[in-house]
C-alpha cells in the first residue's frame, strides 16, 4: 500500500447515492485520493448490499461481491433518515464535505429540506450533484425506471442487434454503466472551477441525456437525410470483412476488422491466397460489401477450423486487426491486462481476498489502486462522527439511544 499523494487527496465526499451509478463515481474519487463517506441505513438496505454474487457464496449484508466492487476504499456510516435527529448528522456531513452526490428520486432531497438551495445555505461553496433517470424537472421527471429503460429511450436498443432481429438491446442496465463517467467528468470540472474561483455549484444529470451522448452523431444523419440508424450486428458501412467469426471450441469467436485494401491483401495472404479471395468481386470495398453474406461464410469456413487465439496471432503478425472475443475468464487471463495490473486483490474481513478491477487509466506519478476493501455496514460510525464531524461521545450515545445510527 502506498501513501503517495493522489490527485484528490484531501477532498471530502459525502456519498448519498445508491446502487451502481453514483457509487461507481465515488469509487473513482476514492481510488484517486478522496475521502468518501457513504450514508446507508439498516432500515432501508442499499440494493447492492443484498445483490448476488456473494463473495465466498456466503449471503449476508457485508458479503455482496457486487457491493464490494463498487465501494472499495470508502467509509460507511448508518443513519436512519426517518429519525428527526438524523438531520444533525447530515448537516454536519454537509459542512464537512466538498462534494455531495445523491441519486434519490427527484423531490426526495427537497422533502428532507436538502435541496441545493438548502444545502448551499449550510455550505455555500459545496459542489452538489444529483443524478436521476430523466432529470429533476420536466413532464417525465417522476417516471421510474432502471438502466434498461434509459437505454431504450436513448436509442441503444434501436441500434444494437441483428438487422433481422428484434431491438433486444445491450446487456443489463446499460445506461448506468456508461453514465457514471459523465457525472465524474462534471464533478472533476466543478472541483477545478471551485479551486480557481472559490465557487461551488449544482450539477444535474438526466441519465437519459447522458446515455444518448455516444449515439449523438447519428442524430445528424437524421438531420441531413431523414435516415434513422438501424441494427447492423457487427457490420460497418466502411469495412469488410468486419465481424466476429466462429472458431474451434464452444462459443469461441475471433473479431476481425479489415478497413482498407492493404489489410485485405494481408488478410488474403494469411488465408494462403485461397482461390475465392482472388475473385474480382472481393477486390474492392464496394464489392466486398455487396457480397458480404457470402464473404462472411467463406471467412468463417476458414476460422472455424482454427482456435481463436491462433487466428488472432497469425492475423496480428500480418498487420490485420483481429482479437479473441473475450469472456470474463479470458479477461482475467489476458496477458495485456495483467501487464497493466488491471485487476487487484483486496482482503475483506468477511469475504476474504477478492479480485477487483482498478481504475481504468494510469497516471505516471500517482498510484490508482484502491486503498481498502469495501466497508462493512456502519463500520465507520465512530470514526466519522467523532473525528470528521467532531461529535462528543455523549452526543453519539444519544443518537445511538434514539436509533438514529441504524
Amino acid at each position: 500500500m502506498t501513501t503517495a499523494l493522489r490527485p484528490l487527496t484531501g477532498i471530502k465526499v459525502f456519498d448519498f447515492s445508491a446502487t451502481v451509478l453514483g457509487p461507481t463515481v465515488t469509487r473513482y474519487l476514492a481510488d484517486h485520493g478522496a475521502t468518501v463517506v457513504r450514508i446507508e441505513s439498516l432500515s432501508h438496505l442499499e440494493t447492492t448490499r443484498i445483490a448476488t454474487p456473494y463473495g465466498g457464496n456466503q449471503p449476508g449484508i457485508n458479503s455482496s461481491g457486487y457491493f464490494a466492487t463498487h465501494n472499495a476504499g470508502k467509509l460507511s456510516i448508518t443513519v436512519n433518515m426517518k429519525k428527526p435527529k438524523a438531520m444533525q448528522v447530515v448537516e454536519r456531513l454537509i459542512r464537512w464535505a466538498d462534494v455531495l452526490i445523491e441519486s434519490f428520486a427527484p423531490g426526495v432531497m427537497a422533502r428532507w429540506g436538502l435541496s441545493y438551495e438548502d444545502v448551499r445555505r449550510i455550505k455555500p461553496e459545496i459542489i452538489m450533484a444529483s443524478t436521476s433517470l430523466q432529470g429533476q424537472y420536466g413532464p417525465y421527471a417522476s417516471h421510474r425506471g432502471y438502466g434498461q429503460m434509459a437505454s431504450a429511450m436513448a436509442g441503444w436498443y434501436e441500434v444494437t442487434g441483428w438487422p433481422d432481429g428484434e431491438p433486444v438491446g445491450p446487456y443489463s442496465a446499460y445506461s448506468d454503466f456508461i453514465d457514471w463517467n459523465f457525472l465524474l467528468v462534471s464533478i472533476l470540472t466543478a472541483l477545478d472551477y471551485r479551486r480557481r474561483t472559490g465557487e461551488g455549484q449544482y450539477i444535474e444529470q438526466s441519465q437519459l441525456e447522458s446515455a444518448l451522448q455516444f449515439l449523438a452523431p447519428a442524430i445528424l444523419d437524421y438531420e441531413f437525410n431523414g435516415t434513422v440508424a438501424g441494427r447492423m450486428g457487427n457490420r460497418d458501412p466502411y469495412a469488410a470483412p468486419h465481424g466476429a467469426y466462429r472458431c474451434l471450441g464452444e462459443d469461441r469467436w475471433c473479431a476481425i476488422a479489415v478497413n482498407c485494401d492493404e489489410e485485405w491483401w494481408a488478410f488474403c495472404t494469411v488465408l494462403g491466397d485461397l482461390p475465392w479471395s482472388r475473385e474480382e468481386r472481393f477486390q474492392t470495398l464496394a464489392g466486398r460489401k455487396a457480397n458480404e453474406d457470402e464473404l462472411d461464410r467463406l471467412v468463417e469456413a476458414w476460422t472455424c477450423e482454427r482456435k481463436a487465439e491462433d487466428v488472432t496471432a497469425v492475423m496480428q503478425a500480418a498487420g490485420v486487426p483481429a482479437g479473441v472475443v473475450q469472456n470474463a475468464e479470458d479477461l482475467f487471463g489476458d496477458p495485456q491486462l495483467a501487464h497493466r495490473g488491471h485487476f487487484a486483490v483486496l482482503d475483506h474481513p468477511e469475504i476474504g481476498p477478492y479480485r477487483i478491477a482498478t481504475s481504468c487509466f494510469h497516471l505516471s506519478r500517482c498510484p490508482n489502486n484502491p486503498l481498502s476493501p469495501a466497508p462493512l455496514l456502519g463500520e465507520h460510525n465512530e470514526l466519522v462522527l467523532e473525528q470528521f464531524l467532531g461529535m462528543t461521545k455523549d452526543e453519539i450515545s444519544d443518537l445511538v439511544a434514539e436509533g438514529v445510527l441504524e
Partner: protein, 403 residues
C-alpha cells in the same frame, strides 16, 4: 455571458477519428480552448466518414466530424517534418494539455515523446490513447472499434438473447468503445490537471482503449471474480420485458413488485390466464417470465408506444420506449421541455440540431459557442496570433507543405 468551467485551460489535440477528438470535445464543451491539429490535405479521417447530406462525401459536411469537433479550432500542421516539429513544440509550450493517439513509439520516432516535450513544458499534462496501452505483450497489436469491443468482453454479452442462441456475439451500436475511451481519457486528464495545480508537476497518462471499455460496469466480471461462472448471452430473467406495440416496442418491468403487477392486471382487465397459480406469486413469475411476456405481448401489440408509456408510467411501473434518433429529436416531450437539443449554423453544412451536454451546471452552463471548424480555419489566428508568424512566413510554410 456566464463563465464556462474550464475557461482559460489550453488544450492541444493531435489525434483523429473518434477517441481523441471525443476526449477534447468534452474539454472544449466545458470551456477549454482546444486547438486541433490536422494533417495538411485531407485532415481528420472522420471528415471522410459520413453521415453526409445526400450521402455525398464532403470533408466539411461529415456529421461525425461536425459532432466531435464543436467548440474547437482547427489548424493544419505536419509535425513529422523538422519545421513542423518545431511549430508543434511551440504549441506544446502554449498548452496545458496535449491529447494524442499515435501508436506506441510513434511520437518518440518523431522526436516528440513525453520526455522530449517535458523539456519544452515541464508542467504539460499529456494524455496518450492507444488500443492496448503503451507497453505490454499486446501493445503493438492493431485494433479498430470492433476488436476493442470484443477484446474488452462486452461483445460476448451482446445481444442479450431470450434463449440459448448459436449466433455470433456483436458489438453495441455506434462508436461505443471509442466513446468510452475518450470519456475515460477526459476523466484522467482532468484528474492530472487538478493535481498539477497543486503539485506543479506535469503528468503522462496512458490510456488503453481495451481497459477503458472494460471499465464500464460489467456484471459478468464481478460474477466471475466471485463465482468462477462465465456469463453468456442469455437473458438473466431480471424481469424487464421487451414488448411489441402497434408502432414499435417498449421495455417495462412489472412482474417483480406486487403493486406493479396488480396495476398492470387492472389495466388489462384482469385476464383469465393471469389467474393461474404460477403467475400469482412474485418468485414464480420470474421463473415463467417468457410465458408471461408472450401473454403480455398479445395485449401490448394492440396499443401504441406513447399510450402504454403514459399509462404504465402513471401507475409507477418502470417503462421506456425503444426510441430511434428521429423519435428523440421529434417526439420526446421530456427532452423538449428541458431544451436538450440546440442548433448552430455551420458555414458549409448549414443550421443543424445537436445534442447538448450530458450534465447541467448551475454556474457554468454548457453552450455551443462555435460549430466544428473547417479544415485549417484558424491557421491565421493560431500561427499569426499565438505563435507570432508573419504573413510571409506563413505563406512560406504553406508552400513547404507544412501547413
Amino acid at each position: 455571458m456566464t463563465p464556462k468551467a474550464l475557461e482559460g485551460v489550453k488544450v492541444l489535440e493531435y489525434a483523429d477519428f473518434v477517441t481523441g477528438p471525443y476526449c477534447t470535445k468534452l474539454l472544449a464543451d466545458l470551456g477549454a480552448a482546444v486547438i486541433k491539429i490536422e494533417i495538411p490535405g485531407g485532415g481528420d479521417p472522420s471528415r471522410r466518414r459520413g453521415p453526409f447530406p445526400g450521402d455525398i462525401p464532403d470533408r466539411e459536411r461529415s456529421g461525425l466530424f461536425l459532432y466531435l469537433n464543436t467548440n474547437k479550432r482547427s489548424i493544419t500542421l505536419d509535425p513529422a517534418v523538422p519545421m513542423g516539429r518545431k511549430i508543434f513544440t511551440a504549441l506544446v509550450e502554449w498548452a496545458d494539455i496535449l491529447v494524442e493517439d499515435h501508436a506506441p513509439g510513434a511520437m518518440e520516432a518523431m522526436g516528440i515523446s513525453y520526455d522530449a516535450l517535458r523539456g519544452f513544458n515541464p508542467k504539460l499534462v499529456m494524455t496518450s490513447i492507444t488500443p492496448f496501452g503503451q507497453t505490454g505483450p499486446c501493445s503493438g497489436d492493431k485494433a479498430y472499434g470492433l476488436n476493442i469491443s470484443h477484446g474488452a468482453g462486452s461483445g460476448y454479452l451482446t445481444p442479450v438473447a431470450e434463449a440459448e442462441d448459436d449466433r455470433e456475439p456483436i458489438k453495441a451500436g455506434g462508436f461505443f468503445d471509442h466513446c468510452c475511451s475518450g470519456l475515460s481519457a477526459a476523466t484522467a486528464t482532468l484528474l492530472a490537471f487538478y493535481r498539477r495545480k497543486l503539485s506543479g508537476d506535469g503528468e503522462h497518462i496512458d490510456i488503453s482503449e481495451q481497459e477503458a471499455s472494460l471499465a464500464y460496469d460489467r456484471v459478468e466480471v464481478g460474477i466471475f471474480a466471485n463465482e468462477n461462472f462465465i456469463v453468456r448471452r442469455i437473458h438473466s430473467g431480471i424481469g424487464v420485458a421487451l414488448a411489441p406495440c402497434r408502432d414499435g416496442h417498449i421495455v417495462f418491468a412489472a412482474t417483480g413488485n406486487p403493486l406493479h403487477w396488480e396495476s398492470l392486471m387492472a389495466m388489462m382487465d384482469h385476464p383469465v390466464w393471469a389467474k393461474e397459480e404460477r403467475f400469482t406469486d412474485q418468485a414464480s413469475r420470474f421463473k415463467y417470465a417468457r410465458e408471461i411476456n408472450d401473454h403480455l405481448s398479445k395485449w401490448t401489440v394492440n396499443h401504441t408506444t406513447e399510450d402504454l408509456y403514459r399509462r404504465l408510467a402513471q401507475a409507477g411501473i418502470p417503462v421506456g420506449i425503444v426510441r430511434s434518433q428521429s423519435d428523440l429529436v421529434e417526439k420526446d416531450a421530456q427532452l423538449k421541455h428541458r431544451e436538450f437539443f440546440t442548433g448552430i449554423d455551420h458555414p458549409a453544412a448549414g443550421e443543424l440540431t445537436y445534442a447538448s451536454a450530458a450534465y447541467r451546471f448551475s454556474e457554468t452552463p454548457w453552450r455551443l459557442d462555435r460549430p466544428a471548424p473547417t479544415l485549417g480555419q484558424h491557421n491565421d489566428e493560431v500561427y499569426g496570433g499565438i505563435l507570432g508568424y508573419s504573413r510571409e512566413q506563413q505563406v512560406k510554410l504553406r508552400q513547404m507543405g507544412i501547413l
